[in-house]
Symmetry: C2
Subunit: 316 residues, 2 copies
């Protein structure tokens, strides 16, 4: 067997661990539920025992390293989670040191959206380019930037936080402390919030829903319900504004949109492209058959992007 790495994708729902070889072939994977309600220690126990299980099973091959993607802001220096809205009790905890203590080996800890971007660049839609950015539409809006084939970290390890670009200066308050961030209009959470706002304003179709979910609201939009359609137009407009900033500022060959809420592409993409064309003269004037026209496209690895990107980290 060839050399391999272990990648870990610690999601809010699933904890996934995989052994991946240098060509990107998954040798073996373990999927568990993330037992967040049982506490931080339990989740780290599960993670470490899954890693050890894979290491023992593949003892004949050379383990090159371990990469872990975590849904939070990582302090690269201390290896602790600086802030993680979806991991109660994790903020400030020295995760990397604790995992390294248990495994008796070094690990690389990274923000999940940065890791997913690396996964899409390595084995997904970004394979053919060296420079790309990604937006991950989930509970929040994550982001990642790859320049010259590598994750662009920035001085504080925070480069790529496109989800906190301002869309509406006086818009909805954001968890980051600002107002009107992209995250407040283009995350699954935002879709549900905008639906609640629309219901308060009397949107009939949405009011009849028994349970509000971004998936249900999308299905309603696909039935051409005006209130639901309007929500995805707002989402598309916010994405178009931020994509225009990104095209004007970075002029990359590719921008990838992933995460669960990208499944509503049909509902938000028309407005997104309209807004992008109106706001970026470069995008608007580059002819569509030019090799230099920015490609705005969906991610192709789905939830594997984070797992494969994490496995890629020790190879960089």
């Amino acid at each position: 067997m060839s050399n391999y790495t272990i990648g870990v994708d610690m999601g809010g729902t699933n904890l996934r661990v995989a052994a991946v070889d240098e060509l990107g072939e998954t040798i073996e994977r373990i999927t568990l539920g993330t037992q967040l309600s049982l506490g931080r220690d339990r989740v780290i126990d599960d993670m470490c025992s899954s890693i050890q299980q894979l290491v023992q099973k593949h003892a004949g091959a050379k383990l090159l390293g371990i990469g872990i993607g975590v849904p939070g802001i990582i302090d690269k220096q201390t290896g602790s989670v600086r802030a993680a809205a979806n991991l109660p009790g994790w903020a400030g905890f020295p995760v990397r040191a604790e995992i390294e203590r248990r495994l008796q080996t070094q690990v690389i800890l990274e923000n999940d959206s940065r890791v997913a971007t690396l996964g899409e660049k390595w084995l997904g839609v970004g394979r053919s380019v060296n420079d790309m950015a990604m937006l991950t539409l989930g509970t929040g809006v994550g982001g990642g930037l790859v320049l010259g084939g590598k994750i662009w970290y920035g001085v504080n390890g925070m480069g790529g936080e496109f989800g906190h670009f301002t869309v509406e200066p006086e818009g909805h308050p954001c968890g980051c402390g600002s107002r009107g961030c992209l995250e407040q209009y283009a995350s699954a959470t935002a879709v549900v919030r905008m639906a609640r706002e629309a219901i308060a304003e009397g949107a009939a179709g949405l009011s009849r829903m028994t349970e509000l979910s971004s998936k249900g609201i999308y299905e309603l939009a696909m039935q051409r319900d005006p209130g639901a359609l309007q929500i995805f137009r707002r989402m598309g407009r916010a994405l178009g504004i931020v994509l225009a900033d990104m095209v004007n500022g970075l002029d990359l060959p590719m921008y990838v949109i992933g995460g669960g809420a990208v499944s509503a592409w049909d509902a938000f993409a028309p407005t997104m492209f309209e807004e992008l064309k109106a706001r970026s003269v470069v995008y608007a004037t580059t002819s569509s058959d030019s090799a230099k026209k920015a490609i705005i496209t969906q991610a192709t690895l789905g939830s594997d992007a984070g797992l494969l990107g994490a496995a890629r980290l020790p190879m960089m």
Copy 2:
């Protein structure tokens, strides 16, 4: 004499040409008025004869190349000016080919703000960093991005157009085709336009001005005139919003603000920093004595940034 390059800064008012050595020492410079009203050919004549004059005078040394900064969007492939609001009759003209034909040698043509960024990185405030961005507040708002010590061009040579980041989605129409771009709130032109708007709304102090200029409006603000102060608060707010986007997206060690309108720093900077802190959690939470705190600062080379940056182009 050591090896040298020739840099050209073609401004709307002055045409400046300099011979610069590899250490950044200016060996000799020629300053002429830019005779835009006498037509394109005359300006190119003046430029080429100044270059030839310097080449003949320094025939004993080795000329490494010629770099030219032009206030417009440059098509890097064809070497023509794609759009230039301040150079009537230049759009679409193959400037590079025409200059090369006259001089019988290759030249490098580049957007003036990109070139000024390179100048500040080489010999100005950015000397100590490898990565930086710059905003040039002039007739418009230009921008430039330097990553790893080099200008970041992007696939279409358009990377660094931070002046066209959206600040107000439904704001003032911009020459680029979008609305509410930074340029509409932070350029010298915008300062005068906002003053006109304020006068129409009855601003007393501004109404008494005999001639509206950004310099005069700044002086009025320094006398604590409420209408004039409000204009620079809008300017600072717009700059703060875009700087927050840049910090969140790129996490660079340094952001430089230059151009003529940066002289109003005292009037716009307080609001700019306030807005930046409110909108970028990274900026707000990095302690001010940390080496990783983003430095937001004024350019130091003044109008020489473009000239020296142009001379730097052939050395890259």
